[in-house]
């Protein structure tokens, strides 16, 4: 999927998709229970290094991505920076009240989002989405009706997109003839979604019947594609654990913020 901007494959490409998803979930829990902003800051840096070295994507694309992640992370925590509780005032204007505590807390929340986005980017750059469902079926005995439905539905996304584009064009052509309300605003939105959905439901129904008759909903299947667990998975987990250990060590011993608790 990213072949045109990819330099090389790394060992992460061979890690089982299920390992990556479980690692992401574990990371989420760890990040939510980390209250030391110093640790998180070091972890952001290490995550960025991991993304640049292990994703195998050309660096200029990664730089753009990094910029986007940082900006959207900052935007999502403005509420805390501007209106958080705190004693040491940095800036006050009307209802806006930036304090040192709220500022650090805001940055902390930003960093949480950034870490998870960076890891998410590493995962998505090294993942084949169909492999996720095969891995879930083979190793976790997810019923095949779920896995195949997802895989079939994913292949419909381009169709949904092109239908949407077609719909827009059709309405543009007819714009002078029909009521404006049906093009823009709420009615337009509703019409768009209803049209897209009814088309998709009809298509999904037909496909579903066809797949059922071919036995895709049975669970007794053998698989042409295989996914396996290997040493790569262990390396991957160990890498993340080491990253966590280094950042918590640095965070405790070489603090950058003058507080060790963002709360």
């Amino acid at each position: 999927m990213f072949d045109s901007i990819k330099n090389k494959d790394t060992f992460v490409h061979n890690v089982n998709p299920v390992t990556k998803i479980i690692a992401a979930a574990a990371l989420f829990v760890i990040v939510v229970f980390t209250h030391n902003p110093n640790t998180l800051l070091y972890f952001v840096c290490i995550m960025a290094i991991l993304l640049f070295t292990l994703s195998g994507i050309q660096w200029r694309y990664l730089c753009i991505l990094l910029g986007v992640i940082l900006v959207s992370g900052l935007l999502s925590s403005t509420y805390m920076i501007l209106y958080g509780k705190g004693d040491t005032t940095l800036f006050k204007l009307g209802i806006i009240h930036v304090t040192e505590e709220s500022f650090i807390r805001g940055i902390h929340i930003t960093m949480r989002g950034v870490i998870l986005s960076l890891f998410g980017a590493l995962v998505i750059f090294t993942l084949k989405i169909t492999d996720v469902f095969y891995a879930l079926m083979i190793h976790f005995k997810i019923k095949s009706k779920y896995a195949y439905s997802f895989m079939a539905a994913i292949n419909m996304i381009p169709l949904i997109f092109s239908e949407y584009v077609q719909l827009r064009r059709a309405r543009k052509v007819r714009a002078p003839l029909i009521d404006k309300k049906r093009i823009s605003g709420f009615k337009g939105l509703r019409m768009t979604i209803v049209t897209l959905m009814s088309q998709s439901i009809r298509r999904a129904y037909r496909l579903g019947i066809a797949m059922e008759s071919k036995g895709f909903s049975d669970n007794q299947r053998t698989y042409y594609r295989q996914t396996t667990f290997s040493f790569n998975d262990i390396f991957f987990v160990i890498t993340i654990l080491i990253a966590l250990l280094i950042s918590s060590y640095l965070g405790i011993n070489y603090p950058i913020f003058n507080t060790s608790d963002a709360r």
Partner: protein, 193 residues
């Protein structure tokens, strides 16, 4: 006849496809949400309800156990596929919101397609992620008025954007006639309030 409450492959496929239509919409909606964020006044919370709508619409169409959860999960992970951005936070939130809707629908035995059930589910979904937000976003350390603003906006949004709009969309799709063969077989005439 088979147990009418068990999901067949067709049900699952329709649910996932509905969810993915919304995933495309969510990806566009993401822009709206981000643009509304900078003031920090939680205006973005007013559009937050859009993120529960997939569960509600899918339930109204199929009316079987597990559909709301599946739809929310598919919509959240669908954003991963559409935006090519794997966001574990999103998936966790999606699962919680789906679960909250599921509980409301369970209380009505997966039969009712009335408007107030959809609105209730929207409100439940809006409330469901607050504990997680509390930890993740340190909501307890926010000025009280700002916190109240956020909660009120979010509940309103859950009720109106997810519940009411979701029900409207369901009625719209039903009007096209494609639901004749879809979902639970028994017909019900409980579409009013």
């Amino acid at each position: 006849m088979k147990n009418s409450n068990v999901l067949t492959l067709t049900d699952v496929l329709i649910t996932v496809v509905i969810a993915l239509v919304f995933a495309v919409l969510y990806s566009l909606w993401d822009g709206v949400y981000t643009v509304l964020q900078p003031l920090g006044l939680h205006i973005n919370e007013l559009v937050y309800g859009m993120w529960f709508i997939a569960a509600i619409v899918a339930y109204l169409i199929i009316r079987k156990p597990g559909v709301a959860l599946l739809a929310e999960f598919a919509a959240a992970s669908g954003e991963t596929i559409v935006l090519l951005q794997f966001d574990i936070v999103l998936i966790m939130y999606g699962l919680l919101q789906g679960l909250a809707c599921e509980i409301i629908f369970l209380l009505y035995r997966y039969n009712s397609t009335k408007l107030y059930v959809a609105v209730l589910a929207g409100v439940a979904a809006a409330l469901s992620t607050i504990p997680l937000d509390w930890y993740y976003g340190y909501l307890g350390h926010l000025e009280t008025w700002n916190l109240m603003l956020m909660l009120i906006f979010r509940i309103i949004s859950g009720a109106i954007v997810a519940g009411w709009l979701g029900h409207k969309l369901y009625e719209g799709v039903k009007g096209t006639g494609v639901l004749k063969y879809v979902g639970k077989k028994q017909s019900d005439s409980s579409d009013g309030f």
